[in-house]
Symmetry: C3
Subunit: 208 residues, 3 copies
Amino acid sequence: MVTAFEAMNAVGLVAFAIVGSLKAVEAEFDVLGVGVLGVLTALGGGATRDVLVGRVPAMLQSTADVSFALLGVALAVLLARRVGTTLLDHPAVVVPDAIGLAAFATTGALVGHEAGVSPFGVVVLATVTGVGGGLVSDLLLQRVPFVLADDFYATCAVAGSVAFWVVVAADQSTAVAAAACAGSTLGLRLLAIRGNWRLPTVRLSAES
Amino acid sequence: MVTAFEAMNAVGLVAFAIVGSLKAVEAEFDVLGVGVLGVLTALGGGATRDVLVGRVPAMLQSTADVSFALLGVALAVLLARRVGTTLLDHPAVVVPDAIGLAAFATTGALVGHEAGVSPFGVVVLATVTGVGGGLVSDLLLQRVPFVLADDFYATCAVAGSVAFWVVVAADQSTAVAAAACAGSTLGLRLLAIRGNWRLPTVRLSAES
Amino acid sequence: MVTAFEAMNAVGLVAFAIVGSLKAVEAEFDVLGVGVLGVLTALGGGATRDVLVGRVPAMLQSTADVSFALLGVALAVLLARRVGTTLLDHPAVVVPDAIGLAAFATTGALVGHEAGVSPFGVVVLATVTGVGGGLVSDLLLQRVPFVLADDFYATCAVAGSVAFWVVVAADQSTAVAAAACAGSTLGLRLLAIRGNWRLPTVRLSAES
């Protein structure tokens, strides 16, 4: 179980870094900016979660996660020169990115549960861990964050973390809850990609 | 005293959530984005303040504040479909929003005072608590934050928190200081709305 | 040694506040917004670093740094009315700004070293301290952060902090490492200004 989860996490770090770096290449950032955006997309969500629960961010202390993020940046630069940024919609990027979303949401839910936060806090920390890095990167790129405007993405992390605390509330172990969170986040995201799902917007009154 | 203050706080949470949600509806965010912006506008300032003084944000632990914020989101969605977003300038939104600004600035000043920060720190924490949520929401909406560019809004929180520490420095109780902060923030904001006050901008030399 | 460093820090605080305030004047923010942007540019990087390592930001506790930042804001307002914002590219602003970058990066590296973070963590904290305030200010001004897109600026802080931990790893004292960090950051930045250096962007494949 631990090994499968760690593999998902590593896949996610590389995929998130590729996504962030390619967006920065598209926006014509310089190589430092490309590196910063890649690393931030991969590690920013977890760092924000750690700050919220009063921990020093793991990325400042361990080096494994940083190495995966830097690997993603290097891959993105190589790929951008060969294939271009159309990769951003390619299954070879989108599926690992979904795996990362599931792994990160699950880590966030686990950290929240350990820190003794409320059910709402578990959802917030899972979602922040999953989408926080991409959201901050979009801000730096001066884009409206895609996770809030037009994609079925953060919703998967919200649903996964609700599954997490339903399982915990039913007196199951956190390992079962983590598997439920990762499975439902990943399954939902893959269905959303395949079906091109979008959440509805709020209809305004005709007069306004 | 406590009850009046708690009522002001609840009114503010609902009003801030309505404002944030309506802005997100205007920007055509999906329903998740509308919920996130509403909750963030209501709870983001307090969460930022808590992180700054080294606390786990209250919103991750208690559920009362979260409930008021979610109530505001629900009201905003209902109102948007019936009345539209012109509500944003309506007294039924603007006055409760002013009450919230006063309650939040006062909470920020009290937390800063307890944490033993400097007078400047009290002003920063009161202002961050009062306007931080709206400011982050404006960033996510890709708008120049209204509180910094063209409204007499954050200034009320600054003035209220200065009143707070003048009263504390005069050896009065923090309850008196809190009342002075809430009263002067609210009074100033209501006058500013009524008189359509704006701060001046800095005049540039004719040559530049 | 301490005195020279404190002088560099004070020069940097004033210069950073001038830069932030002048940008806000250019963007036609009101006087409160000009003050907030100036103070945030000067103190925001250090505050972010403190939050990352679990400290209450120094700016909430001491008053010396705040005074230098406010002095910079006052100077910026006076100068804007006399000279205009062309000052932003003037050596009288750009050179003190480089001194500040060196002082802030060095403080960040020292704080990271004391907190026992990884070498990557030292680089992150030095860079955040040096460029974090300007980066957040650019976000509030709705500008793509210049440090990521088209200037040889953050790179100097990265190089300086790498120098820091090379010297520490070679068993030298932190005072020597700090001098190496400050010297290499400042030297590199001055060369970059003089030579109008820019980092390359990533070339995309011809097809995309």
